[in-house]
């Protein structure tokens, strides 16, 4: 009986069980806490691809004030940001730069496609210089329709993104 308990394979099993328990015990609350932090601290990159930037400016104005959700507009470097809001038209000249900005951002990073242009190309469906949407360049998490979307729509899109982050794993 006792021998069985202390035989090496069993011990191994105990140890792995213990570590499982530990990971279970830590992982979920840790993920919860960290996702909570990520939700309320989305710093968008300052990359303006189209005219939706006007309404993005309005979203950080005193009337809508996205800083309530911890978003800081006009933030300096892309190295400290976690969110690209693709602000409208992705032209063929801008697309490589957009990709590069996305690549250079640190993980974890999220993308919101704002405006009809960034979703499907919108008005510029037949233009020779506009890509049909940002999702051919970067993976998009949330689509915010409108031309330009109202700031409320953008904020609602951010809520959707928060919901998504909440469900995601931290690593």
């Amino acid at each position: 009986m006792l021998k069985d308990l202390v035989n090496p394979t069993n011990v191994n099993i105990y140890v792995s069980k213990l570590s499982d328990v530990l990971i279970k015990a830590v992982e979920e609350p840790l993920g919860y806490a960290i996702n909570w932090g990520r939700i309320y601290s989305l710093w968008p990159v300052h990359l303006e691809t189209g005219c939706c930037s006007v309404e993005f400016g309005a979203a950080s104005s005193p009337r809508y004030d996205v800083e309530r959700f911890g978003m800081l507009e006009a933030f300096g470097s892309l190295r400290q940001c976690d969110l690209i809001v693709v602000l409208g038209t992705v032209t063929r000249k801008m697309a490589p730069r957009l990709r590069m900005v996305y690549d250079q951002m640190p993980e974890p990073k999220y993308v919101i496609a704002m405006g009809a242009c960034a979703i499907t190309g919108g008005l510029y469906l037949d233009s020779y210089n506009v890509l049909p949407g940002a999702d051919s360049v970067v993976p998009v998490d949330v689509y915010v329709p409108g031309c330009p979307p109202r700031p409320e729509t953008l904020i609602q899109g951010c809520f959707l993104l928060q919901e998504k982050i909440k469900r995601s794993k931290i690593k």
């Binding site: 005193p62 979703i119 689509y143 109202r150 959707l160």
Partner: protein, 166 residues
């Protein structure tokens, strides 16, 4: 001296604002009130009902499937496609109705102007964000849903500046 007065004035102006009312609209809790029940242009009177331009609303009992809205939109964003619906309406023999892709629509309202039967209106529903593009395509059935009308605040002028209030 000029410099000093400049700074003092600036500090005055800045500190004055600390006691002013906040202008912020606390969006998820408060929503803006929009006048009218939808955007529509009345060609006879030449006068329109002002309202916000959000998602469309389609009155199935009025739409005849004439495709004029789709034609109007064709040169703009190609957001409208006519789809078959299961319903039977006597004014709509072909049983086709507009389906709007909000990934393309630019909310210009020209389709509303074009509709001769007052079947298409624009409402104050702007909360349209979605996770995928397919969620943005609104079928006629979805378009028929009346939006919630729960906005009640608007800009008010007070003694301590403008604010949002009921």
């Amino acid at each position: 001296m000029n410099t000093a007065t400049g700074f003092i004035k600036a500090i005055q102006s800045g500190t004055k604002h600390i006691v002013m009312k906040r202008f912020t609209l606390r969006y998820p809790e408060e929503k803006l009130k929009f006048t009218g029940d939808g955007y529509q242009f009345d060609p006879k009177k030449g006068v329109g009902i002002a309202g916000t331009r959000g998602r469309h609303i389609l009155f199935h009992d009025k739409c005849t499937g004439c495709q004029l809205c789709a034609i109007a939109c064709e040169g703009i964003a190609e957001a409208i496609t006519m789809v078959k619906v299961d319903e039977q309406w006597k004014q709509n023999k072909k049983s086709i109705m507009p389906q709007i892709d909000y990934g393309k629509c630019v909310f210009c309202g020209f389709c509303v102007d074009a509709c001769p039967f007052y079947a298409l209106y624009m409402t104050n529903d702007y909360e349209l964000s979605a996770y995928t593009k397919t969620h943005l395509i609104y079928t006629p059935a979805q378009l028929a849903v009346k939006p919630r009308d729960d906005g009640e605040v608007e800009i008010k002028m007070g003694k301590r500046g403008a604010y949002h209030g009921r």
